[in-house]
Amino acid sequence: MRRNLAYAVVGAVILMLCGCWDQQLLKTERNVSIAGMDPGTNGLLRATVSIRDVTSTESGSKDTNEVHSVLARSTQHARELLNEEISGSYSNAKMRVLLLGEEMVRNHDVMPYLDVYYRDPKSPLNARIAVTRGKAEDMIRIKMIGSKTIGLHIDELLNSTEEATVVPHVNIQTLHPLDRGYDFSLPYLVIREGIPAISGIALFSGTRMTDTLGLDESRLYLLMAGLKNINLRLTMKSVDRNKSNSYDYVTVEVKKLKRKLKVTVSKNKQISVKLNLKLRVTVMEDPRNHLYKMKIMHDLERTLSEQLTDEAKAIVHKMHRANHDGFGIARRLMSFHPKLWKQLDWDKEYPQILFNTSVSLQIVNTGITE
């Protein structure tokens, strides 16, 4: 009995003495909600963060944030510098968005700067990534939009546009671009009248950004890549697009997407890709109200299909020019033609690939009117 008691006391004392090495108290941490990276002078990194605070009082809670910007040698170094600037200890575990300045991704390999995000066990791998036109710092310095902090605003903006399939769903984890066999694309943000807005997507070749797509293009691009999210709406001219008429647009919502991507290699090692999209759509808006006639509906289907096919071809062309393999052709070659893949110089080969793209569209219903 006495011995057991002694054991218990010794055990308790040891536990009490050892303290808590890895304690990170919530109250002492300062949490970054959005961070941005821009190239600085002399190969340094300009890191900007916005730290969000919520002060809750009896009358409710209030959002505030503060923006800090440092010139650092590396991402981790930036963290150290920031830590010397802010009260409390720096933490990015709850970061929601990482913004990359356009210059950063056009002229630098951004991956070394992201390494610490992959290495740190506490890092926010589910933070979204986006590219900004101009400097990321400028966007973060907006600080508040209405009653929302910039970090929350951009996060929600990206979330809703992801759901509407305007931009792809990308976070730091899915980005990890170690020989994935396809190139990634990121949401492209601009500041429009002082407010951040989506302007399309930025196409990457390897780890460098090479081109951008506009909003309409990016929707179709995502369709072609088979990345349709919850809903996707397309607004197009409903008659021949050369005859300009004031109110001739039709909006369709894609209900179902059937995508066929086939990579074939001919005997002389010519790679050709057949991409076939079949869309089943609902008409959301059709100002002319002629759809009760089957013929007109079929005409509309044909017009839209042709339009989409043309646009798709334009996108493929743009991708070729940008050397952006967003559909994972390389991955397919690796998987199905491993021998050929080993001989290829992919950067040279990719623009040579023949794309045969076609989009066909079928209207399945027209809302509660015809």
């Binding site: 090495w21 890895d22 589910n126 984890q173 990890h176 170690l178 020989d179 998987s335 199905f336 491993p338």
Partner: protein, 366 residues
Amino acid sequence: MIAAKDKITPGQLMILVIQSQIGVSVLFLPSTVESIARNDAWISVILAGGVTLLLITIMWALSRRFPAMTLFEYLPLLLGKFLGKIVHVIYAMLFILACSLIAVQFADVVRDWVFSSTPSWIILGLLLVTSLYMAQENIRLIARFFVLTFGVIFVLILIAAYAFRDADILYILPINQAGIPNIFKGMLKAMTSLFGFEILLFSYPYVQGGGKGILKATLFANLFSTLLYTFLVFTCLIVFSPEELKIIPQPVLYMVKALTFTVFERADLYILTIWTVVVISTVIAYLFMAAKSVSALFGKKRHKGTAPFVSIVIFIIALIPHNQDTTNILQNLVAIFASVSLAALPLILLCISVFLNIKGKEQAEV
């Protein structure tokens, strides 16, 4: 003779074996096997399961000849007193080292993922004290506890299955890229994860029913573990590209790190928590076997008194490795001991038993 009250059912045996097999390697296996067998790692794991099946059958055939005895009771009968003692020491060493290795790997993962500055002796101490509390009991109580914690394995599967969202089946292709030799090498690596079935040597006389039922239960257990490992390896293979797997030592945790559920984020912390329970079970099994063999070495029938000392030894051994190199040495040591005592020795013992026709005196009552 063991009273019917102290016996375990074949179902309990099955879970006992599963829990001893599935341990730390749940997290490591995908990347260790992948490093050799590339994207054919899942084939290696299935093959490893097949080979283990064979080893289990040998072990069972050996145990069946001595249905009322544990390994250390019939070792002297087969090998004579002196040789028997040497083999006995080999087994004891295996269990102690294997247990230390598990503890080291557990402490490493905890250090890397949650507690970067907590000294590892604290984590090791917690692990061993908790396990010791269970391991000093008899096999029946341990089996009960294992059945109880068996459920967490399914939670593990459930969370891991969620990662299929980001999967790309193309990563598996082309099959047989690594080549057959590498697949076999990978199989040898994967084998170490399936060790743990040796608990059969200790539990055989305690299981109710005949030998057939025991074999069936153990084989089912092995099948389950193999399938679980294959599932995890397969999931990791299709979620990560081969280059990523090279630099991620614990892909299962990494895979779920970015998952966000509506009620919680950072699923890796929960997986780690659940995995801790799985590791505790394995440590309990090994600690039990180690304590049993050491106490048998000193001619003791009960292992309750020896268990604390054995766990202190394990604690000290587990404190030695400070870097990856020393851990690897320990790992290789365990691999050598395991292949000797789990593959070679049972076969030799079985041959001796068959050719010299040595059998257990007592027949098990059915």
